[in-house]
Structures are given as structure tokens and as C-alpha cells.
């Protein structure tokens, strides 16, 4: 150990390298397999030969002579064979080259199975006619003619050569993207899966129900869902909160909120209603904002009561003036969160 703070910082970095270079079970297994291929069978023989009694020198000389003769005879035979093979081989090679070049020019991709894990950014030559540029993680499976990419996160740019009959699909938790001959990108993040098409036509099926057929210049986003309505609504609430926190336009937050509301129950519904009221008012739909606020406030247990009362009051003032906001302002006052000046002004107007 060391007391020098410079050493401690350095030791932390060395510790990180130590963790990342520790041997894994897969690596050990791979090296064992490699070793088993390299160890010659004769190893067993050598180990056994050490335990045999010493050989008589004359006998050994006879055996060596016989072995040498056999080796020489075999060598002569092989020389003759090589000579013949060389001539025939040259002819065969030329013929094969002509056939191979012709086949390559017209061949469709061989339908070989694919199995590749994508963990690092960069281009990937997954199969003939398919060009991928990854900046994320996923797995490439399927076959060369029908690649199937399970994409877990980040961006994937895809180009599929048209006219080669390649049916490529990209699957994320939110979307299934199927394409024949086009250029598009798939970007998966906590906000969902966004598909944008540069060339050709792409069909996107969202797990949350919506389907899109996109052409060049189009884009669509499939929002997160984990299947059950409750889980889907919680995912959409999360998405809406994330969008709001990241400063996204209110209309975009509202889209996520309104997608989740029909599915939501219990606390998720309550939270979504609160956000709905806020966002509706933000986009100028104040009457609807007040309705949403009223639905939220109908439940006395809401944890964002003061917030929603303030939105309702602002929405009421915007649509019907101060008197309409009185009941919200009074409720706020009771909660100790009121604005006395505004309350007084509205009372005067009544």
C-alpha cells in the first residue's frame, strides 16, 4: 500500500485494467480447445517410450534402416504423384477460376447462418449485400439472405443492396423493422426506437400497436412498452418524464402522456393526469388542461395536488377569467401554497 495520493490515483487505474484483463471462463475454454488441437498425438507415445527398457543398439540400427528405406520409397512415390498432379492441377485451377468468377458475378448470397455479437462501434460486414455501421449493441442472427438483427441500444445504420432478394429485419423491444433493399437507421434509447429512412421503403411495427410504412425522408418512433398495460403505462410515464426533463417540446411530452393514459391505472394514471394537465396548458389547450386537472383533483390522495391546482387556476384564468379560478386558488390557500395577491385580485373581480 502507499500513502502517496499520486500513487493511489494511479493504483485505481491499474486496478481497472486488472479487472478488465482478468481471465474469463470462455477464454480459458477457448485456449484449452486450441491446445488440444496443437498437442500432437505422439506426445502420448513419447511419454510411454521413456518407460520402455533400453533398446539393443544393433536392433535399433536395423529398425532405423528399414524406416529410412520406407521413407525414401514414399518420397519417390510422392515426387511422381506431384508431377502428375501439378499438370492436372494447373488445368483444373484455370477451369475453376473461370467458373468461380462467373458464379460470383451472378450469384445470390449463400444462405449461410449468421451469429455475431455487436459490442463495439464501427462498420460490420455481416453478409454480402448488407452494410451495417453500428454505434451501440446488439446481435446479428438469421442467415445471409435473411439477416435478423436484435438491437438492444444505440444507433445502427443499415444499407441493403436492392435486387438481391435480401430480407433483413431489425428487432428492438419496441419495434420490428422489415426491409428489402433500402437505407435506413434504427436508434434505440430510453425514449424508444426511432426509425428513419434514407432510401427505399420500410415497414415498422410498433409493439405498442401502431404500424408505419416509411419511405425516403420519413421517420417514426415506437415508444417503450414491456407488454402488459400497467408496464406499458409506466414505461410511457417514464418516457414522458424523461422528455420533460430533457427540455423536449410540450407537444412531444403530451404525445407520450396521451399514449399512456388509456392504459394506466392507479398511481400511474394519477401521475399521467398531472402531466397531462400541465402539458395541455403549456400548448395552449387550457380548457382540456382544466378538465384533466379536475380528474386528477377528484382523487383526494394525489401527491402533486398543489402543482395541479396551480395549473388548473392558470388554465381557468386563461379560459374564463379570475372568478373561474377562485375554487382552485382557495384550495391552494388551504394547502399553504396560495398566492394571496392573486387570490385577492380574483376576489375583487368577482
Amino acid at each position: 500500500m502507499t500513502d502517496d495520493p499520486r500513487d493511489r490515483a494511479m493504483l485505481d487505474q491499474l486496478a481497472q485494467l486488472a479487472r478488465e484483463t482478468a481471465s474469463t471462463g470462455d477464454e480459458v475454454a477457448a485456449i484449452r480447445r486450441g491446445l488440444s488441437r496443437r498437442v500432437p498425438d505422439g506426445r502420448v507415445s513419447r511419454a510411454l517410450l521413456r518407460h520402455l527398457p533400453p533398446v539393443d543398439a544393433q536392433e535399433l540400427a536395423v529398425v532405423r534402416a528399414r524406416v529410412d528405406d520406407a521413407v525414401e520409397a514414399q518420397r519417390r512415390t510422392w515426387l511422381v504423384r506431384l508431377g502428375l498432379a501439378g499438370g492436372l492441377g494447373g488445368l483444373a485451377l484455370a477451369a475453376t477460376a473461370v467458373v468461380a468468377v462467373g458464379a460470383w458475378l451472378v450469384a445470390a448470397p449463400v444462405d449461410a447462418p449468421l451469429a455475431l455479437a455487436v459490442t463495439a462501434p464501427g462498420p460490420i460486414a455481416a453478409a454480402p449485400g448488407v452494410a451495417l455501421v453500428a454505434d451501440g449493441t446488439g446481435e446479428i442472427g438469421g442467415t445471409a439472405r435473411a439477416p435478423r438483427i436484435a438491437w438492444t441500444g444505440g444507433r445502427l445504420d443499415v444499407e441493403v443492396d436492392p435486387g438481391k432478394g435480401i430480407a433483413l429485419s431489425v428487432v428492438t423491444r419496441e419495434a420490428t423493422v422489415e426491409v428489402i433493399g433500402t437505407v435506413f437507421s434504427v436508434d434505440r434509447s430510453a425514449l424508444g426506437t426511432t426509425v428513419a429512412v434514407t432510401r427505399g421503403k420500410v415497414h415498422v411495427a410498433c409493439a405498442a400497436g401502431a404500424d408505419h410504412t416509411l419511405t425516403a425522408g420519413d421517420a417514426a418512433t415506437c415508444v417503450p412498452t414491456t407488454g402488459t398495460p400497467a408496464a406499458a403505462s409506466s414505461g410511457l410515464l417514464g418516457r414522458a418524464n424523461l422528455l420533460k426533463k430533457s427540455g423536449a417540446p410540450a407537444a412531444e411530452v403530451l404525445t407520450a402522456v396521451e399514449a399512456g393514459l388509456p392504459l394506466a391505472t392507479g398511481p400511474f394514471r394519477s401521475e399521467l393526469l398531472a402531466l397531462d394537465a400541465e402539458m395541455l396548458h403549456a400548448v395552449g389547450r387550457s380548457r382540456e388542461a382544466r378538465d384533466a386537472a379536475d380528474r386528477y383533483l377528484a382523487d383526494p390522495g394525489g401527491s402533486r395536488r398543489a402543482e395541479v391546482l396551480a395549473v388548473a387556476a392558470a388554465a381557468a384564468i386563461a379560459t374564463d377569467g379570475c372568478p373561474a379560478a377562485m375554487r382552485y386558488l382557495s384550495a391552494l390557500e388551504e394547502l399553504g401554497a396560495g398566492d394571496p395577491a392573486l387570490l385577492e385580485r380574483c376576489e375583487d373581480e368577482r
Binding site: A9, S23, I31, R32
Partner: protein, 194 residues
């Protein structure tokens, strides 16, 4: 980290030609040798290849080792020599190309594995690689593998005092190299404030 310990009986069995004993010995030391190859070989050396080469040599020549105390420094010496050969080979390949390329793809050469290190680990790896072999060995054995001074002294066949003084020197050398490579703003900040 649990460290394998060859026993006198095991070595005797190996010398006696017991294939099972030999396989057990190789299995026990494979992870250790692989970790040495990754950490001491540097980014230019294929650690899997080097590990296989080392273990092939071990299998071929271990019958020269008669005691457990002798085994570990012998193994480390073999590792050091094989890694030096691989590093020279990697240098040649960089300029001349791979004249004896493999016919079949080897999972050890999977480029995705090279990219699995985080950015920090990769830079630390490069900084270590720039140190001379003797500096790098003590640093790796002491500060990455947390071996005691006595263990390291036994591996390197040097006195314990030599290990301590080399470690102080090697840490300073690594810090200097790492700072020049722009590693560890924390390290640079401490240096500046010290």
C-alpha cells in the same frame, strides 16, 4: 485471487509421464498465464496465442522442474521469453505483414475482444506497454495482481529489497508515462497540487 500451488507429488507424477497430472497442471496455471500475457504482453501481442505457446513449452519441458519452489519462477521465465518473442514478432508483422497467416479464423483473434476494454483500461494498457519490460513486470505483479513482495521476489528470482526499490521506481516511471499520455486527470491534478 486464489493462486495455484504445484505440489512435489504433482511434479513427480508429471515427470513420471502421468498425462492426467500434466493436464491438471496446465489447467491450474492457464488462467494465471493468460492474465500475465494480457497484462505484460501489451496491446500488440495476441494473449491467447502467447498463452498457448507458453503452455506447449511447459508441457514439453516441465520434466526439468523438480520442486514447487522452482516451478513458479521457471514458468514466469518461460512466459517472459515467449512474450518477448511475440512482441518482436508483432513489431515485424507491423512492418512486413503476416507471412504465415492462419488458414482458419481463430476466435482468439476476434477483433471484438480487443475492443472490449474500456477507454481508461486501454490507455493504461498502452502506458504500461511503453515501459521497459523490467519496469512493467514489477508493476503488474505488485499493483495489478497484488502479490506480496516475497512472491514477486520468488517469481523474478531477486531479493525482496530489490522488489521494493524497483516498485518505487516503476510507479514513478508509470506515472510519468501516463501523465505524458494524458491519462488520469486525477493523477495530473494531484501532481499539480502536490
Amino acid at each position: 485471487m486464489a493462486r495455484p500451488q504445484p505440489s512435489g507429488d504433482q511434479l513427480a507424477a508429471v515427470r513420471a509421464g502421468d498425462e492426467d497430472a500434466l493436464a491438471d497442471l496446465v489447467d491450474a496455471w492457464l488462467p494465471v498465464v493468460l492474465a500475465w500475457c494480457k497484462r505484460l504482453g501489451g496491446p500488440t501481442v495476441d494473449a491467447h496465442d502467447a498463452t498457448q505457446d507458453i503452455l506447449m513449452l511447459v508441457m514439453d519441458k516441465v520434466d526439468r522442474v523438480y520442486s514447487p519452489e522452482q516451478f513458479r519462477p521457471w514458468l514466469f521465465g518461460v512466459t517472459r521469453r515467449v512474450l518477448a518473442r511475440h512482441r518482436r514478432g508483432a513489431w515485424v508483422k507491423r512492418w512486413v505483414g503476416d507471412l504465415f497467416g492462419r488458414d482458419t479464423p481463430d476466435e482468439a483473434n476476434d477483433p471484438l475482444r480487443q475492443a472490449e476494454l474500456s477507454d481508461t483500461a486501454r490507455r493504461v494498457h498502452r502506458a504500461l506497454d511503453r515501459l521497459p519490460d523490467a519496469h512493467r513486470e514489477v508493476l503488474v505483479l505488485c499493483d495489478l495482481e497484488h502479490r506480496t513482495d516475497e512472491e514477486v521476489a520468488a517469481l523474478l528470482a531477486v531479493p525482496v529489497g530489490t522488489v521494493k526499490s524497483r516498485l518505487r521506481r516503476d510507479r514513478a516511471a508509470f506515472r510519468s508515462t501516463a501523465t505524458r499520455m494524458g491519462l488520469g486527470p486525477a493523477v495530473a491534478a494531484i501532481e499539480g497540487g502536490a
